[in-house]
């Protein structure tokens, strides 16, 4: 049963990934990418990584895709179709992709996968208790540092997006 679900999700992901790179309209590519990311979340759910799947859905399928859509919509000639690359370039890209695929496949097939008995998946509660624990092995300091990182990202985004206007205002005030 799990095999059927895995292969159907994998099929959906492969089809939409190919559609995403072959579509010549930018916005369509983004929407195909959204389906691929949802498929990744489906795989995470299948292997019982519930928290990772939730992150995948909220941050990637929800946030990153919104960001990409906005950056596509900010482009001037959005209705323009992307040009088809030259034949020499297509061949080079195909060779590069094949080399990458070959490396991946040899690594996967040369690795011996051992079945673990009674494998226990990490639940969201486990992650939460590790994250909030201030004893040895806890991650409370990284947890608080994350907020500083997010703060830095927020301030950086504001400064870059409104840079010229901010300095203009400050000059007047000074």
């Amino acid at each position: 049963m799990e095999r059927i679900i895995f292969y159907s999700i994998a099929l959906i992901m492969v089809v939409f990934a190919i559609a995403s790179v072959t579509s010549r309209k930018m916005l369509r590519s983004v929407i195909y990418l959204l389906f691929v990311l949802c498929g990744v979340a489906g795989i995470y759910f299948l292997i019982d990584y519930n928290f990772l799947a939730a992150i995948q859905l909220t941050v990637y399928a929800g946030g990153i895709i919104v960001l990409i859509i906005f950056s596509v919509l900010l482009v001037h000639h959005i209705e323009m179709q992307l040009e088809i690359a030259k034949l020499s370039r297509q061949i080079l890209t195909a060779v590069a992709c094949m080399v990458g695929l070959g490396i991946f496949l040899t690594t996967i097939y040369s690795h011996e996968f051992n079945v673990v008995e009674n494998s226990r998946t990490t639940t969201t509660a486990d992650i939460g208790s590790k994250l909030l624990s201030y004893e040895a092995g806890g991650f409370i300091l990284p947890f608080e540092v994350i907020s500083v990182l997010l703060l830095a990202a927020m301030i950086g985004a504001i400064i870059i997006a409104k840079g010229a206007k901010l300095t203009g205002k400050n000059d007047k005030a000074l």
Partner: protein, 116 residues
């Protein structure tokens, strides 16, 4: 139980949508003329392309949304174990939220939330 439910849900979804489309194709009245394909029937046709360039202001909101999105992702495991940890968990997450609240205050002060 879990995976069978997904399969049943998937099949039911496909059958319902495909069935509704097929039935409406089967029994609906068919007519085709040039007027039917206009965006506004018996209205004016649009001039120029329908694509518009968005204002850059949207992008800043998207980035701010993404940052708070990541913040909420970190609040999920906190909310799950909140009852076990009690007051300490509350203080820990309060520090987390206050630091991010500073960012929100900064954005507010600099007028990043104002629509121009």
């Amino acid at each position: 139980m879990g995976s069978e439910a997904i399969i049943v849900f998937l099949i039911a979804g496909i059958v319902l949508v495909a069935g509704a489309n097929f039935l409406s194709n089967l029994i609906s009245h068919k007519s085709d003329n040039p007027q039917k394909r206009e965006p506004y029937e018996s209205g004016m046709t649009t001039i120029g392309p329908t694509w518009v360039q968005f204002k850059v202001g949207y992008y800043l909101f998207a980035i701010l949304f993404l940052i708070f999105d990541v913040e909420v992702a970190f609040l999920i495991p906190w909310a799950v174990v909140f009852k076990d940890f009690g007051a300490i968990a509350f203080i820990e997450v309060l520090i987390f939220l206050v630091i991010l609240g500073l960012g929100l205050m900064y954005a507010w002060k600099k007028g990043a939330l104002k629509w121009e």
